[in-house]
């Protein structure tokens, strides 16, 4: 027998095809539409799943091998970080407020992504996309867990982490922004999920989320976050190629898919950009040492890189989402408007706030020459004067929220930065409010979905946000304190100003112990 001589080594593509799509078969004892019940209801037409181009070709043995190598490295760093009080190496404990926002706002999304991609990895009739989605699903649980593990060490020494990665995302007002984004995607069908998360979020926007966040962590001495962040990003490159392949595949399979895909791209680009407001605010206001401004990151990662992407997709008839015109105006405003909002509501937030100091305001002026001095410096200056007189400004009126993105109505009209923008729609005799043309379009297209939104402010007014057994009729009842208790925000510890906080005092004392002999 000369089997060996006749057997040529299989190439990567050929071998991978045997290892994946060769496994599937068309069922005959059960109808295919019962085995894959979610394949058709969104109206996307797929004629030949075999035309799917695998975006990457990892067999499980290689996956285990490389991922285990990443995990060993990552946990070695986390162990060393914990053993050596690595938390004292950050620039300033103030920085950690950005990390708190990450743990409570982003890590739970990683978890939902894990479940959503498991669903996609079960629901597509094609084997190629299913395998790719399952690998993303398992990567996403990795991200949720490595983030929790990395940040667990901060939780031991700082306030604002103790509620963990899940309790608050279901409850806290500003966290309903990222949560509703993922709930929206997961409650849609598998194809829309892929455009929402696989394409818009992972491909178009992920660089805006992770790269600035992780560079910010690196600049600020946060080795734990840099480590999980860059380690997670190494998976992200695979996820991005999956998102891109998926959209191309849908567009190549049938011309009827184009309008559906375009509608989803428009929707999810806008939804995603609204969520990223929180990242913009983090970059411009929350880092003691800043990497680049939100506007600069937007220009590099969205305008340049996204531009190349949309040029590439133009051959399929895909157009740049209309909302980009507004984004070009917004990039000079949203981070300032968001930080001003959190400053006013610092008593109801799970992290500390502060006013930018002179040096920081000058940096903002330089980065935002068209807007900062004109619209925002005066406001921060006035608040500083009030605070100096002992009249720190807190807004005790709960804001109205956008029915779609759920951000308080704080953004301004595209053509007038002094006027709050709001739009109104009517559905079944009720009025619904949105923050922008983008959100109004989304609402008007699927009102039956968005009227279901669990809006945190409405829910507080309806009395649904108190701990079990709360009696609002007792004397001296303070609804806000009860809401905070339900949120797991410890009043006076987790919230309000950084100046005078426990985090600030502890960090100074511990650093003192570490650097002095007394």
């Amino acid at each position: 027998m000369d089997m060996k001589a006749t057997k040529k080594k299989l190439g990567l593509k050929e071998k991978y095809a045997h290892m994946t799509r060769g496994l599937g078969w068309d069922t005959t004892y059960q109808p295919m539409d019962k085995v894959f019940p979610q394949a058709a209801f969104e109206g996307i037409k797929i004629h030949d799943w075999d035309k799917w181009e695998d975006p990457f070709r990892l067999t499980m043995d290689a996956y285990w091998k490389y991922q285990a190598e990443k995990e060993r490295k990552l946990y070695a760093v986390l162990d060393a970080f914990a053993q050596n009080n690595g938390h004292l190496g950050i620039t300033d404990a103030r920085y950690l407020n950005a990390v708190k926002l990450f743990l409570t706002g982003i890590s739970p999304l990683e978890y939902v992504a894990h479940r959503g991609f498991a669903a996609a990895g079960r629901n597509f009739p094609g084997v190629g996309p299913r395998v790719a989605c399952l690998m993303q699903s398992i990567d996403e649980v990795r991200h949720a867990q490595t983030q929790i593990h990395a940040l667990s060490n901060y939780n031991k020494f700082y306030e604002g982490f103790h509620a963990g990665a899940t309790h608050q995302i279901e409850r806290v007002w500003y966290l309903s922004v990222p949560k509703s984004f993922f709930d929206d995607a997961f409650s849609a069908g598998p194809f829309e999920w892929m455009i929402a998360i696989g394409f818009s979020f992972e491909y178009v926007l992920t660089n805006l989320l992770f790269v600035p966040f992780m560079s910010g962590a690196a600049y600020n001495g946060d080795m734990a976050t840099v480590t999980f962040g860059f380690s997670a990003q190494s998976d992200e490159a695979r996820h991005m190629t999956l998102g891109l392949e998926c959209i191309k595949f849908m567009l190549e399979q049938d011309p009827d898919n184009l309008p559906i895909v375009q509608k989803w791209i428009d929707k999810w680009a806008w939804r995603g950009i609204r969520v990223l407001t929180l990242v913009g605010m983090m970059m411009d206001y929350m880092l003691p040492k800043r990497v680049m401004s939100w506007k600069e990151a937007w220009e590099i990662y969205f305008e340049q890189n996204g531009g190349a992407l949309f040029n590439d997709l133009a051959k399929y008839g895909i157009k740049v989402p209309e909302c980009i015109t507004q984004c070009t105006v917004d990039k000079e405003h949203i981070s300032h408007q968001a930080w001003a909002t959190f400053y006013q509501y610092a008593h109801a937030s799970d992290f500390h706030t502060w006013l930018p100091n002179d040096e920081e305001m000058d940096w903002l002026s330089a980065k935002y020459p068209n807007t900062f001095d004109k619209y925002y410096r005066p406001r921060f200056t006035q608040w500083r004067e009030m605070a100096d007189k002992g009249e720190r400004f807190y807004n005790n009126t709960l804001p109205m929220l956008c029915q779609v993105c759920q951000i308080p109505m704080v953004f301004t009209e595209p053509d007038d930065p002094t006027k709050i923008c709001y739009r109104e729609s009517e559905y079944q005799g009720e009025k619904y409010h949105t923050c922008s043309d983008g959100c109004k379009h989304i609402f008007d297209d699927e009102p039956e979905k968005y009227i279901q939104a669990w809006l945190p402010v409405h829910q507080i007014y309806q009395g649904n946000c108190f701990p079990e057994g709360t009696d609002p009729t007792v004397e001296g009842f303070d609804p806000m304190l009860k809401v905070l208790e339900w949120y797991h925000i410890e009043n006076g510890k987790d919230n309000m100003d950084y100046e005078g906080s426990g985090d600030q005092a502890n960090f100074a004392a511990w650093r003192g112990m570490a650097t002095q002999n007394t």
Partner: protein
């Protein structure tokens, strides 16, 4: 700034997150606990799923099984992503060196022809069965409730993909790409494979995720894996087919390990209530009959005449296992 901090002892403010303090007390939590408990959202969801409007995104009602606390179904291996991948990476390294040795030294050519044919006829088409196992477990990972059980089901789904790929590789080693074509056509149309294919397809349309767990992970794997990786493997080794055993070593280890995890789930769920015990027992009885019938022609191909005895042995062992888990079967 480089500071020497090793001499500084700082008393932590707390040891872990609130929900773990509530569950286990204020003490340092393991990475398994931090990465698994309560990380699935539970109460508040914005929109009804378009694909299941009667339920919320994560809903306890997607199975007949009821648990006071779904986090009672913990994984005895305490796998979180890191410990899982590191464990599998070690096993794959061993498997890889076996395959390499067999490929480099041409050991497959030394396997007696009859055994080689048995491996091609019995093991290689099983890659499709494994793919069915992947689909069932992905379903649970998507629609199940509580991370301590959904998480290991995703790992199990990925394991099934890995096993399907090892079986593919066995086909490639023994007979090149043709082996896969032949196995696929046997799976699709050979009479002795049709009962098993029908059974696997029937599992693909189940909706109750815990029923899938029982039908696939407890019953099908509980009967099939001993058949392949215990009985048939013993045959291979005894008759000079050690090279085949080397190539299935991963599966043999894996099925022993995962059976312990499956047992822990069933045991806890059955002990929860008489209702659970009854539902689980009914499922086991139903799927045991169906699985044994589906395996019979394959066992006949693998073992010839004594196949009925082999299956009877396997069934007896399986029944004893179920009895230990508190089921009435």
């Amino acid at each position: 700034m480089q500071i020497d901090l090793r001499t500084v002892a700082i008393k932590p403010l707390r040891h872990t997150f609130d929900h773990l303090v509530d569950r286990f007390g204020d003490k340092p939590a393991s990475r398994y606990q931090e990465g698994s408990y309560n990380i699935q959202q539970e109460h508040i969801f914005h929109y009804r799923p378009s694909w299941d409007a009667d339920n919320v995104l994560f809903d306890k009602k997607r199975t007949k099984i009821r648990m006071q606390d779904w986090y009672a179904l913990k994984d005895p291996r305490q796998y979180y992503y890191g410990s899982y991948t590191i464990a599998r990476a070690r096993q794959q390294e061993a498997a890889e060196s076996s395959f390499e040795m067999i490929e480099d030294r041409g050991l497959a050519e030394l396997i007696p022809a009859e055994l080689r044919q048995t491996a091609l006829d019995v093991l290689v088409p099983m890659r499709h069965v494994e793919w069915g196992g992947n689909m069932g477990n992905s379903y649970i990972a998507a629609y199940g409730y509580g991370t301590v059980i959904t998480q290991p089901c995703l790992y199990h789904a990925m394991d099934h993909l890995g096993v399907a790929q090892y079986l593919t590789r066995i086909g490639l080693v023994l007979d090149g790409p043709d082996a896969l074509e032949t196995a696929k056509s046997a799976w699709m149309s050979c009479p002795n494979w049709q009962p098993l294919r029908e059974h696997v397809e029937n599992l693909l349309v189940l909706q109750d995720w815990f029923e899938i767990f029982v039908a696939q992970n407890l019953v099908l794997e509980g009967l099939l894996n001993p058949l392949l990786y215990d009985h048939l493997d013993a045959d291979f080794s005894a008759k000079g087919g050690t090279a085949i055993s080397m190539m299935t070593r991963f599966m043999a280890e894996w099925s022993t390990e995962t059976a312990k995890w499956v047992d822990a789930q069933i045991k806890v769920a059955a002990a929860e209530s008489p209702e659970n015990k009854a539902v689980l027992s009914d499922w086991v009885k139903h799927y045991r009959t169906a699985t044994l019938a589906a395996l019979a022609p394959i066992a006949a191909r693998a073992f010839g005449e004594p196949s009925a005895d082999v299956l009877a042995d396997i069934a007896a062992e399986f029944n004893a296992r179920c009895a230990k888990l508190g089921l009435a079967v």
